[in-house]
Symmetry: C2
Subunit: 347 residues, 2 copies
């Protein structure tokens, strides 16, 4: 018997999906991108699905149910935006144990509804069932795009510029803050509990983790500027991991500059406080839901005029591999996939 | 706080989904049918999603993983057929605990692949994640149909005939057999374990429960005979429950005849052995995945020529309610929804 952790997330997915031929003319892209691409009519239909399990993907000690519902929806929308599409419909399956009441489910749905409202998505179905254990959410989002607009992971070309929206590592630092407070809380006697945890000034980090947004605005910005990315992916597992996906699927290599990684001041401050390497946080933190994409070198001028988008490096030929160039061009550090830390850390 | 069980499955779903407006032109039907109906291009896109949780929907003591994968796929296909559509794509999310190995996942995928192959469906995506507890499967199926072909739950008209395919209650009796053997097994000392449980002659019942098929053939039969059902649903929760869905959503009542319920000889034999009321098994057993549908009275002649389809009653005006007419026209028994026994029985 093979322990699942030995294969890692991506090894496992490869193994499970390698024998999957497609037979329907309407199936354009199957397994292996942010979303499947289907052809129903002139437009492309995009479909993505995600599962969130209590104790693995979220900890109810510090995750308000409303935020959980909101985030579960948004991370699925993010996958559709990462294909350069527009999310349209959402299906939600929920498994709940006995310790959950109807009001708990209402809260989750409040969050789901809010997200749907903000992003113009229709909640069209799903399944609610009891569970013997914790809370399980499994969502499917359907979106659309013109056939020529769909951006996949496999289109990056040598000399393309690598761009990323927003900033990285903040969600991860938000998680660290929450975990620290949880530990403090667990070690505090009932009668000495002074006050609520003090996160003041760090709300940005918490929000990045608990209530992220999908970068619909970035997709719109690019469209307005008439820039069509050659490849795109959303940053859910961490920059390194996503960049390796783009490069592997495009058959190319890359160089990114450590000094160009977009990092918020609060992220830097908190990483220092936790004695963590800041670049590692930005490279492997995950859950930022920013968009990572490549554009032709000729788009440099246009990109540099867009706010909140940073060029962090360039695509090379595959033989050069994927590496981070340290500050001051000091050294090249090979990029490593992190992904699915859940499985490896679990005991 | 409200205990979820007090609302029941359908009450809960109503509560959670009552505030769900739709904003996209492509959303034709949202929550409340076997599948959502979307308009991408000329055809209709159908989407359905289902979640299966260990200990609630399946018991791994007697469920081979290959069968589990097969069944999980087929029950989703069944929802698409119940809309008079054709399933085309499948997305699969799996949560697995540490006691599962890669080989276990391979077995589940073997079953999924076999079902996809048989039904001509493409497995196009999904998510595999670790779980702190049992096994969780959440599947989404996408299908298509011509706009005029989509059959919903809300089209039944007064005087329509009520038809059902195949036979009912067999899956439920299969489950009883498996549960009995499990109990025997649990009470047997290691050293007196004589042999494998003896199911010989009852394989049909086990297969109905462990490896059901979706009634693609019935949908094809009806199309060939040029019969378009006025309403249709698949029998997953039990005949009573499904019939009440059709009637409620169509705003009608119904009468069905106890003596016309289609029941296999083995189901009858086993129900007697278990001292269970046979009609109750057929009405509330569930998991048969047969198709329940209504047709205009004028289709009677055509229907009677089709094999494996039985007329079991007729649609009335709403004020007459929904009832079963006992053998020999003896009495009228109001139909009751069973549905989601999982939640109510759970402790």
């Amino acid at each position: 018997m093979t322990d699942i952790a030995t294969l890692g997330e991506f090894g496992l997915i490869r193994r499970l999906t390698e024998k999957l031929p497609t037979v329907n003319a309407s199936t354009i892209v199957g397994v292996g991108d942010d979303a499947a691409v289907l052809a129903y009519g002139d437009k492309r239909t995009l479909v993505t699905s995600d599962m969130l399990l209590e104790g693995i993907h979220f900890d109810l000690v510090y995750t308000p149910l409303r935020h959980l519902g909101y985030k579960a929806a948004v991370v699925n929308f993010s996958d559709i935006y990462a294909m350069n599409g527009t999310p349209r419909q959402l299906l939600v399956n929920i498994g709940v144990g006995r310790r959950f009441s109807v009001e708990h489910l209402d809260e989750i749905y409040d969050g789901l509804r809010l997200a749907c409202e903000r992003y113009g998505v229709d909640l069209v179905g799903g399944d609610t069932s009891s569970s013997l254990t914790g809370l399980t959410l499994s969502l499917t989002c359907i979106g659309e795009a013109d056939a020529n607009d769909v951006v996949r992971r496999n289109g990056a070309q040598e000399t393309d510029l690598i761009c990323v929206s927003g900033d990285l590592g903040a969600a991860y630092m938000g998680l660290q803050l929450l975990e620290r407070e949880k530990a403090v809380f667990a070690n505090t006697e009932q009668n000495e509990m002074a006050a609520q945890p003090d996160f003041s000034g760090r709300e940005y980090l918490l929000e990045r983790f608990l209530k992220p947004e999908a970068r619909r605005d970035v997709v719109a910005q690019l469209r307005t500027a008439d820039i069509r990315p050659t490849s795109m992916i959303d940053v859910s597992d961490g920059l390194s991991s996503e960049l390796l996906h783009l490069c592997t699927q495009s058959g190319v290599g890359c160089r990114i500059y450590e000094e160009r990684l977009p990092i918020d001041y609060l992220t830097a401050l908190t990483a220092e406080e936790f004695n963590m390497n800041l670049s590692t946080c930005a490279l492997n933190g995950g859950e930022d839901y920013e968009l990572l994409f490549t554009v032709p070198l000729t788009a440099h001028e246009k990109i540099s005029q867009l706010e909140g988008i940073k060029e962090i490096g360039y695509i090379t030929k595959a033989s050069l591999g994927c590496a981070l160039i340290g500050r001051g061009d000091a050294e090249e550090i090979p990029l490593r996939a992190q992904g699915w830390v859940h499985l490896e850390n679990q005991d």
